[in-house]
């Protein structure tokens, strides 16, 4: 893991995220969002969490991004171009950014170097999921099922 790779990926990610937040065309924003998530996945790779990175790509690019573009398509009538900014929101976001940066820079304990670690294999994640985290896993399964059914019911056409 080198500094150069990190800087490139970070700039790429943040630029894409900024594009997702500010581009005028909704579709472009959604696609930039997908790109930003690819960058994030690359960061995860850098951090040695390959599985999470792949899962992120899989879930976000494969599913969530497609869902978003579909929704854009289905609500197309007033998409066009999103008029104007809420400048107060921009100010607040900027303030939060400054506050976060200031407090992060101020915290000395964060400037540490990673310890040398054993690679986290998928097998170990699987074992952890099936032993210590089995109940949370079941709960997430339930939650996803509920979300699936709930989303279906929400978008179902009302029969008249």
């Amino acid at each position: 893991m080198s500094n150069a790779a990190f800087v490139i990926i970070a700039i790429f990610t943040l630029a894409a995220a900024l594009a997702a937040a500010t581009l005028r065309k909704l579709m472009h924003a959604a696609l930039s969002f997908a790109v930003a998530l690819v960058g994030l996945a690359a960061l995860f790779f850098l951090l040695g969490a390959e599985f999470v990175g792949l899962a992120l790509v899989f879930i976000y690019i494969g599913a969530v991004a497609v869902l978003i573009v579909f929704t854009i398509l289905l609500t197309r009538r007033d998409v066009g171009k999103d008029r104007g900014f809420n400048w107060a929101g921009v100010l607040i976001a900027l303030a939060v950014f400054c506050g976060l940066t200031w407090s992060i820079l101020k915290t000395q304990s964060l400037s540490i170097v990673a310890p040398h670690i054993r690679a986290l294999t998928v097998k170990r994640i699987g074992e952890a999921l099936m032993t210590g985290y089995v109940w949370p896993l079941q709960c997430v399964g339930l939650l996803l099922t509920a979300a699936l059914i709930g989303a279906l019911i929400l978008v179902m056409e009302e029969k008249r």
Binding site: S2, L43, I68, L105, A114, I117, I125, A128, L154
Partner: protein, 104 residues
């Protein structure tokens, strides 16, 4: 020469702020969703980063947290987008400025 934890947390903070920017300043409901997803992604980055730099990274706690968080944000995205569609059908708009009535 490897980046420190601080660098990752800074990126995460920036990502969070960008997400907040999207959620606060855009009118379209989908932008708010994108913003929220970005904020959640920033949180996930934090989980992974703190796990990686932790004194005992052999326990995959941070990774687990991130995995569950991704699953939950996927569910949230599905429901959120479904709600956007439902709201659009009802009000014929997705502009959140115009959605200020609880009763339909």
């Amino acid at each position: 020469m490897t980046p420190t934890l601080q660098a990752f947390v800074l990126v995460s903070g920036a990502l969070f702020s960008i997400g907040l920017l999207a959620a606060l300043s855009r009118r379209h409901a989908i932008f708010i969703l994108i913003g929220i997803e970005l904020m959640l992604a920033a949180a996930n980055l934090n989980f992974i980063a703190f796990w990686h730099f932790a004194p005992q990274p052999h326990q995959p706690t941070g990774v687990m947290f991130a995995i569950f968080s991704i699953a939950i944000s996927a569910a949230e995205a599905a429901i959120g987008l479904a709600m956007v569609i439902a709201v659009y059908r009802h009000y014929h708009t997705t502009n959140v400025d115009q959605l200020d009535q609880l009763k339909g």
